[in-house]
């Protein structure tokens, strides 16, 4: 009964990622895409909060969006898995519901 959460806003201008982290249940997945990918980068003010969830949640980033913004795989927070569009679709299909944090 797991949920796929998606976040498409930068964590520095919106509360979406923080709110998502606050409401996601163990076993859920979070996919960061569009400006949401900034939440997957190391060394930011929110990185520790994201990394702290990498054990209980599955964390993903849409690779095309991360690459476009100069966030190479090596700069991703440990435990964040890059996925392509097909991977995004698979995640949506394999979860019971999707909750989009706009």
């Amino acid at each position: 009964m797991a949920t796929l959460h998606t976040v498409n806003k930068s964590p520095f201008g919106a509360s979406a990622l923080q709110s998502c982290l606050n409401h996601a249940k163990d076993g859920d997945a979070i996919l960061m895409f569009e400006d949401g990918v900034y939440g997957a980068a190391q060394g930011t003010i929110i990185a520790d909060a994201v990394a702290a969830k990498s054990g209980s949640l599955s964390l993903y980033v849409l690779k095309g969006d991360a690459d476009a913004r100069g966030i190479a795989d090596a700069r991703l927070i440990e435990g964040v898995t890059p996925v392509d569009y097909a991977g995004f679709v698979e995640l949506a299909a394999s979860h019971d519901r999707t909750n989009n944090w706009l």
Binding site: M1, T3, S15, A16, S19, N22, H23, A24, K25, D28, D96, R97, T98, N99, N100, W101, L102
Partner: protein, 136 residues
């Protein structure tokens, strides 16, 4: 028919007038009410501002849609989950929200409050019980 009833949650996380999200959500709720599903509304983060009482939009030339929330009981939309932490972070309490009542047809039409205050963990649990989550 019972088997076809799904749990629909509309998630409101935006303040009412700065963007169109809140009004759009309300319109979708009104239209969706025709489909006889098990509907809940969630108000968290800036979404709690939608329910604040005393809104007056005369000065900004847009419609004040806050009274429409009070009509939702007629549409059998009677579950408004409001997150306590979101209220507190914004200096609000339940007393700052407008009163929203519905008539319980299964209880001799007794008037009951639609707003249910929940904490963050309860909100997360409620979200995880849904079949469909529509976010605004």
């Amino acid at each position: 028919m019972e088997d076809n009833i799904k749990k629909f949650l509309y998630v409101n996380r935006k303040a009412p007038y700065g963007t169109i999200y809140a009004l759009e959500a309300l319109e979708v709720v009104l239209i969706g009410a025709a489909f006889d599903q098990d509907v809940s509304l969630a108000f968290l983060d800036d979404g709690v501002f939608q329910l604040v009482k005393g809104q007056n939009t005369d000065g900004i030339g847009v419609k004040n849609f806050s009274p429409t929330f009070r009509a939702l009981g007629d549409y059998e939309v009677t579950k408004f989950y409001v997150e306590k932490e979101s209220l507190e972070e914004r200096g609000l309490t339940a007393d700052d929200l407008q009163e929203i009542m519905y008539e319980d047809e299964d209880d001799d039409y007794a008037e009951k409050p639609s707003i249910r205050l929940v904490n963050r963990a309860e909100m997360a649990d409620m979200m995880a019980e849904q079949d469909v989550v529509l976010s605004f």
